[in-house]
Symmetry: C2
Subunit: 341 residues, 2 copies
């Protein structure tokens, strides 16, 4: 493990000069620079993370984090927050602070305002669950232009110039659900799909993946696809109606939120444990429904990683000068049943 000091000694220059050469700052005599570079290459120099991290303390680096509040919406984000908190504690030891703001689910202007506030407060990088709106994309572009990298979390947004995306590959998560249904039903099923909204890309992607993975299974029929707008009460009503109209349904694919409402409908129709049910995520109500046997399996998407990984990416980028190898970091789809929950 070569150090800057060793290189400096071998090259007969000071550490400062080596630093300037290796990090392209200041100006250095080309010949000196060449010599330093040669020695660095020869010694297989890689900067020491500890040293770099320790040295950025004085810079008072700050990251911003904007995500959907879980109180009004989806408790899924509670698990994301816990991932954020763990990583923030670690970063705090490095002298980096994290400022978290919660945005409304359907208000892009509010989100843009929060971004402005965070810029004002002097953040050096941002993680965000972006609302799919041109203004948000534009604002992300603006941040990037200012030298403030942005990482999107849970949902991606096109044409925004964001540094990276961390979250589910929704098509794959739909396929996984399809695979489970195939296995649970031995390839014969009449399935009802309950989804938030087919207008939301993540949701429709899941349904597409589900269909794709079942394309070769002619005895699995999709009876109907109904929308619940991620609301438990609507979910209850539409599911109840669906089961009423289609008594042939023997399995349900709950492709987004509103899991609890749908399962209440199943129970009120006395169909619990008679239908095969597959859902997503593992919020507290879902966990109970897994435990009592109403839901057979749920597919999770590493919410804690969704919280922490964006901060790691920002840290690597800003402190260690490491650009993410891939601009999409997909979380694993973990299958949870009663026994491994």
């Amino acid at each position: 493990m070569a150090t800057i000091k060793q290189i400096a000694n071998l090259a007969g220059v000071s550490r400062g000069t080596v630093d300037r050469v290796l990090n392209n700052r200041g100006t250095v005599n080309p010949e000196t620079a060449a010599k330093v570079r040669e020695i660095a290459a020869l010694l297989n120099y890689t900067p020491n993370k500890l040293g770099k991290t320790l040295a950025i303390k004085k810079k008072n680096i700050k990251f911003g984090y904007i995500l959907f509040s879980s109180t009004n919406d989806n408790p899924f984000f509670d698990d994301v927050v816990s991932g954020i908190n763990i990583k923030s504690k670690e970063l705090k030891e490095y002298g980096i602070s994290v400022e978290t703001r919660f945005s409304e689910l359907r208000d892009p202007f509010n989100q843009v305002k929060l971004m402005d506030q965070l810029i004002e407060s002097g953040i050096n990088g941002l993680a965000i669950t972006p609302i799919n709106h041109p203004d948000v994309a534009e604002k992300i572009k603006g941040l990037t232009a200012k030298g403030i990298p942005v990482v999107t979390v849970n949902t991606d947004i096109e044409n925004s110039g964001r540094l990276a995306y961390v979250g589910s590959n929704y098509l794959e998560s739909g396929k996984t659900a399809g695979g489970l249904l195939r296995l649970f039903t031995s390839g014969k099923a009449n399935v009802g799909i309950i989804v938030g909204s087919m207008d939301i890309l993540c949701h429709s992607e899941r349904v597409n993946g589900f269909k794709q993975s079942l394309a070769n299974y002619s005895e699995i029929n999709i009876v109907d696809i109904i929308e619940n707008y991620d609301d438990d009460f609507i979910s209850f009503e539409v599911t109840k109606a669906l089961l009423d109209i289609h008594p042939e349904i023997d399995s349900l694919y709950l492709a987004s939120a509103g899991v609890y409402g749908a399962c209440r409908a199943v129970k009120s129709a006395n169909l619990d444990k008679k239908l095969k049910i597959i859902s997503y995520d593992c919020v507290p109500t879902t966990k109970l429904l897994i435990e009592d046997g109403t839901i057979d399996a749920t597919i999770t998407q590493q919410p804690d990683v969704q919280g922490s990984k964006p901060l790691s990416i920002l840290f690597d980028y800003l402190v260690l000068n490491i650009t993410p190898k891939n601009d999409r970091f997909y979380t694993n789809h973990e299958i949870k049943i009663r026994e491994n929950i």
Copy 2:
């Protein structure tokens, strides 16, 4: 974030003294010590990991790692090795080296010899996949007494005084397999179990967990439990015989290694895709069998974590003085099917 320097200033003493008090080294005037402690408590002092880590460089700390060689035995350990390598690279930057040795699967004396060699070479901590033999337990005790902490990996060993265990909870992993079978067969099945040896605790634990989780499902019968001694050729023969004798078998639980051999037997009986098959781990041959539909699901046990986590535990213990909260760190049981492999 209080620092030693701040405490020293407030207490009107030198950093050295604060260090002595907070880390119980050397001797300090009780009154001075009390004052320092008070201030530290007041400031909510927690030592900075970066500082501690940077400072141990000169100590030239070295960890030993003994695990079963994957060449002759189970390619599962290839994934463990990859976890070791990633963590080793990180530790290398901290000035810590890792020396890995491979031991024979059934030779406790060889393992003890390797431990002696590593002691000789001056290791400060050891991770090991221990062979369940009193001599090995005794040697681990010896290391611990010498102040060299030992972490067991993948398999635990009683009465050894090891610091911690990292690996599967085998009972739970058996239950997970049982749960999957229940879901795949809608609670009606004639299942054959192929296991390495019921004399090996890990193996019998899995079978016990499997039975436990199916205790309330009277229509799931365990037709027979046969042993393959983790050998693919034996596995082939015994599976073939089992399927021959018991044509009523409609599902197989492959509770340990020898997955490939068992599946070859299934194929040679033209029963592939007709039996429900559940296995463990995801070695290359298993992956292919998942992809071609022979195996329906496999349960993995985070081999990469099994490689890296023991090194983290040793690091925390020796460098940061953090004793593991729990002496068992259980890996997750991840269910892999064709779509999320």
